[in-house]
């Protein structure tokens, strides 16, 4: 079983990328579990015909943990992909990080973490220990950073490298950086910049995803690009990503760079 996690700045397209990646992987005949690890709970929506599925934390809150079973928290969507949303508190109260940890414990208890590939789609940044949970022992061993060529997005990706570096120094940790996915916003020389950034942090760009209108079209139709327009060039890009992720053998301990270096790097490509 392969377990991967996608991290990156908020709004950069992690959920869109995750859902399309899961859809492309499932098309290869693989059994996929996608887990949304963000209180915003919209990771799996495009796999569920636009439906917000009940989150694990909401179910625990309303029904109590004892009353729950596996079938209450796992929902089957497009092409048999199993979907879970961790959920969490309302904005501004409680502890979302602990919500992620509690969800993972419950998934473990139910033996839900199985299949050929588990895709963890995690909130914008590793803000506390709870959001590092998917990187911890027994969970995702390959982390993919989703970033555009914008400085702030690279900055967030670089910060996540710090978390991976820290975690990978632990004795039993198998968490490594699998690569960087460039979800382009369409600025000049963006692909070159993200490729160079990836090299500097001791990794590689595994896929360049160009900006394409079909992504928005699929979204308003509450589908992934793979489902909405399987013949499109964009769908092919996601299938290519799926192939590269499955064949990826280049796993590394990242070497995050200093902010100064990051800024001068961004200047070189502007």
């Amino acid at each position: 079983m392969k377990q991967i996690a996608l991290y990156g700045k908020g709004g950069i397209g992690k959920s869109t990328t995750s859902a399309n990646l899961s859809a492309a992987l499932s098309a290869r005949g693989l059994s996929i579990l996608q887990i949304g690890c963000d209180p915003k709970r919209d990771s799996t929506r495009m796999l569920m015909q636009g439906k917000f599925i009940p989150t694990v934390m909401d179910l625990v809150r309303t029904r109590g943990e004892a009353a729950l079973s596996l079938s209450d928290i796992v929902f089957t969507g497009y092409n048999g992909i199993r979907c879970v949303e961790a959920g969490g508190p309302e904005p501004g109260v409680g502890c979302a990080g602990r919500g992620i940890i509690a969800t993972f414990h419950l998934l473990e208890k139910f033996g839900a973490l199985d299949g050929d590939v588990i895709v963890y789609d995690v909130l914008g940044d590793v803000v506390c220990g709870g959001f590092a949970m998917p990187m911890r022992e027994g969970y995702a061993q390959e982390i993919y950073l989703v970033t555009s060529g914008e400085l702030m997005s690279l900055y967030a990706a670089n910060n996540i490298c710090k978390a991976i570096q820290r975690l990978s120094s632990r004795v039993k940790s198998k968490c490594r950086l699998g690569g960087v996915i460039c979800n382009a916003r369409g600025q000049p020389r963006e692909e070159e910049l993200v490729a160079e950034f990836s090299r500097r942090v001791n990794s590689a760009m595994v896929q360049y995803i160009p900006r394409a209108h079909v992504v928005q079209q699929a979204e308003v139709n509450q589908q992934t690009v793979i489902e909405y327009s399987p013949e499109s060039a964009q769908a092919e890009v996601y299938r290519s990503l799926a192939g590269r992720v499955m064949g990826n053998t280049r796993l590394s301990v990242p070497t995050p760079i200093e902010t100064d270096e990051l800024e001068s790097l961004a200047r070189e490509f502007i």
Binding site: M57, V60, R61, G88, P89, E90, V93, G94, C95, A96, R98, G99, A102
Partner: protein, 345 residues
């Protein structure tokens, strides 16, 4: 933070802020205390308070209520659980409710103050007590006393003295109080208020009327200063430890209250001399101090007492004399009885 495990270090300078504040709020007879956190935080303290009071011959149950937070409350926020506990506690026959916070609710950012500010019909008083923020047991005591003092209004002076910050969890809390009351009685000064030991909530309104405040120990200085600022009441920084310290205590209380204390001081001196004479059988005995517990002031008092008695403390002897930070002349007498038992054992 104090990580030194020696008992003398672990007694009050370490410890939990929550426990310190509870040692104060639970000694208000008609008030309830809510511990906002997991139930273990309450249980542990309930046991400690109950067991300590039993050792002091007081069969009492501390009025503690836990909000009993579970993992769900931590994830979604614990404010609802606090509101429920407050509705319940304020509906009982109590004059006030204290709300003490724990580490976890400070970590997740519950707005305890805002919940406490809602209207419940009786005073609801929040005392922040999350231990992990670096506070000690003593900080918990001080915060609780200062918060409580903030609820008392300034009022006109009346004859009498306030006792501030008694160590409610020490074994000799009553003996030490009785000794201070005796010493004050020598100067014809009544005790106005024990702030806080076994008092009804409404009596705290007397706090501002005291002529002077007598602090239990110097670590309460922030409380003494706060009271001085709020009510203009001067304070004596500590209960006295040892013979000469007791004399000095009488002199400074007399001076502070504008009383001529010479006669009382002389009577106390002769009482001390009679006491030393009564233990004349210990003169010349060889013994060493067992100073596991007492701290500086206890040891200084014991050395002075041994000198007055003609004991020769030092090495080479298997006899260990117990040393405790006993208060006043009668505290020295209790210590002498223990010494006699140790020497004649």
């Amino acid at each position: 933070m104090n990580l030194n495990p020696l008992p003398v270090n672990s007694s009050r300078l370490g410890g939990c802020t929550l426990t310190g504040a509870l040692s104060v709020t639970t000694r208000i007879r008609d008030a309830a205390t809510i511990v906002h956190g997991p139930k273990g935080c309450s249980h542990h303290n309930f046991s400690l308070l109950h067991a300590t009071w039993l050792d002091n011959d007081e069969v009492l149950l501390p009025d503690l209520v836990s909000t009993g937070l579970s993992e769900q409350d931590i994830v979604f926020g614990g404010e609802d659980a606090l509101r429920k506990a407050l509705d319940k506690a304020t509906g009982r026959n109590v004059k006030a409710v204290f709300v003490l916070s724990t580490c976890i609710v400070e970590t997740i950012g519950d707005d305890v103050e805002a919940v406490c500010e809602q209207e419940y019909g009786i005073p609801v008083i929040h005392i922040p007590t999350a231990g992990f923020l670096g506070g000690t047991f003593q900080d918990g005591v001080n915060n609780a006393l200062i918060t409580l003092a903030g609820t008392a209004k300034p009022c006109s002076r009346a004859p009498g003295v306030n006792i501030i910050g008694e160590m409610n969890l020490e074994y000799e809390v009553e003996e030490n109080y009785t000794e201070i009351a005796r010493l004050l009685g020598c100067l014809d000064l009544p005790v106005s208020l024990r702030f806080v030991h076994d008092i009804p909530f409404d009596r705290m309104s007397r706090l501002g009327s005291g002529q002077i405040n007598i602090l239990r120990n110097p670590a309460l200085a922030p409380v003494g200063k706060y009271l001085e600022q709020r009510f203009g009441t001067p304070f004596i920084p500590s209960f006295p430890h040892g013979l000469s310290d007791t004399i000095a205590f009488l002199e400074s209380v007399a001076c502070c209250c504008g009383i001529d204390g010479h006669e009382s001081v002389e009577r106390e001196r002769s009482m001390q001399a009679e006491m030393i004479a009564a233990f004349g059988d210990l003169k010349g005995s060889r013994a060493a101090f067992d100073n596991t517990w007492p701290g500086q002031e206890g040891l200084a008092a014991a050395e002075e007492l041994a000198g007055a008695l003609g004991l020769s403390p030092g090495g080479g002897s298997d006899t260990r004399l117990p040393v405790s930070p006993a208060v006043g002349t009668t505290g020295m007498r209790r210590m002498l009885h223990r010494w006699r038992r140790a020497i004649h054992a």
